[in-house]
Amino acid sequence: MKSDRIAAIVGVAESDLGVVPGSNVLRLQAQAAKRALDDAGFTKDDVEALFTAGNWARFPGLMLAEYLGIKPKYLDATDIGGSSYESHVIHAMAAIQAGLFDVALITYGSTSRTSPTRIPSSLTLRYEDPFGIPSPIGHYALAAMKHMHQYGTTSEQLAEVAVATRKWAMLNEKAYKRDPLNIDDVLNSPMVAEPLHVLDCCLVSDGGGAVVVASAKAAARAKKRPVWVLGHGEMTSHNNSVCSMPDLTVTPARESGRRAMEMAGITHKEIDVTEVYDSFTITVILTLEALGFCKPGEGGAFVSGQRTAPGGDFPLNTSGGGLSYCHPGLFGIFLLIEAVRQLRGECGERQVKDAKIALVNGTGGTLSTTATVILGRD
């Protein structure tokens, strides 16, 4: 580790999760915000910057700030899908480094389970939508099929990811799906878009989360010990049109991950726990390859034999992931929450022993954009 101590995550929390009828995105974000500030030992008056993402309002950032009673001097509502929240941490750190503020509150909320909304066709997807491709699963299915064809990756290997992730969820009392799962269960679940079955797909749930980022100065007065942002990188390849993605088997994490690790000055072997967006089982395999944990094409073999499950030698998605814990849309914020808890040693039964460094990688759109954050404790 060579990184300077510039910014730290000092507070994390979820809102109510799962099925939350009668709620709305503002209530869920307020709930998570209050809990995360409590976790940090901060109050709303400490908050100078506010970050959120989502398409639930014309001006989501303004609406949220007003609802929370916060008048931010810095507002960022960057929405790049599932990597938005890793990106928010990166942007917050850059602004802290520039001396613009000391404390940022980052929140997410979604009622995608109880009030689903259908995304209208867009200026660029109008050349794809008339052919009936379901998005995003159809796009991820195209990537999975390509990977299988190119490298011989199997449905069993994809299922390994779902099964291992479920085993972590069984150790997390907040997880939505906690009943045992085996490889045959995944393979026998209904096909949605070949080769992806229902159980290759993340959950659809309600919920929200919040993260408090502080400068080194502000982190010194936080209630809990800081989890430092040691390195970061962002990269965008394309929007929703996977036709614009140069290679369907290589995500932008190859670039964002490389830069994040360089900045942190760490090697893969120093990473104790890894949290990557698992929108679909294939997303995990592609991401592990892109991040350089294994060579291109070796992701299937890498996750085989339940290597990423509790007790395996590669602790991955230890909350139970979007596949089994919760998935209210932009799961990136929950990756950060779990990584911070692991580094603080707060994870009880699912605690990765002596975890000091975590890698978090959000993936947004249809393998379109990634943001990688390396976190570590002193």
Binding site: R118, S121, L123, T124, R126, Y127, E128, D129, P130, F131, G132, I133, P134, G138, A141, L142, A143, M145, K146, H149, P190, M191, V192, A193, E194, P195, L196, S241, V242, C243, S244, L248
Partner: protein
């Protein structure tokens, strides 16, 4: 009945030539007069070199399957058409587009050559589909 089963794409100055071409059984893509590369989807500026000198050309209609999926669950109006094959077709010109592959599903695989065919949905919309060559 077919017309109700498809989403109608928005027609404007970016897209008109493509959809009008399909109606006339021509697969229209763009070509950059400066960097000499093909472009799809259509736009006002070349995404390779940022030149504004882009023009429309008729593509060969020949390509290969870059990847595909068989869709078993879809949102309306496509739910009534499952299972169907959606693919990324890489045209011989090098650009890729999403389309359907029609014909015997068992024979479809990645890298197989395909040719364009036209599916008239209604008077307003014809879709360029592909079949194995």
């Amino acid at each position: 009945m077919k017309g109700m089963m498809h989403l109608k794409p928005l027609i404007d100055d970016d897209s008109r030539t493509f959809w009008e071409g399909a109606k006339n059984h021509k697969l229209m893509i763009q070509w950059c007069n400066d960097c000499k590369k093909y472009i799809f989807y259509p736009r006002i500026i070349c995404p390779h070199c940022f030149s504004e000198h882009v023009s429309w050309v008729e593509a060969s209609g020949q390509g290969r399957i870059y990847s595909y999926t068989v869709v078993h669950r879809a949102m309306p109006p496509f739910n009534e058409q499952t299972p169907f094959v959606v693919a990324i077709v890489e045209l011989n010109e090098g650009v890729r587009m999403i389309s359907r592959i029609i014909g015997d599903r068992e024979k479809i695989s990645i890298d197989k050559p395909v040719s364009v065919v036209y599916e008239k949905i209604d008077d307003e919309l014809t879709l360029p589909y592909f079949q194995l060559s």
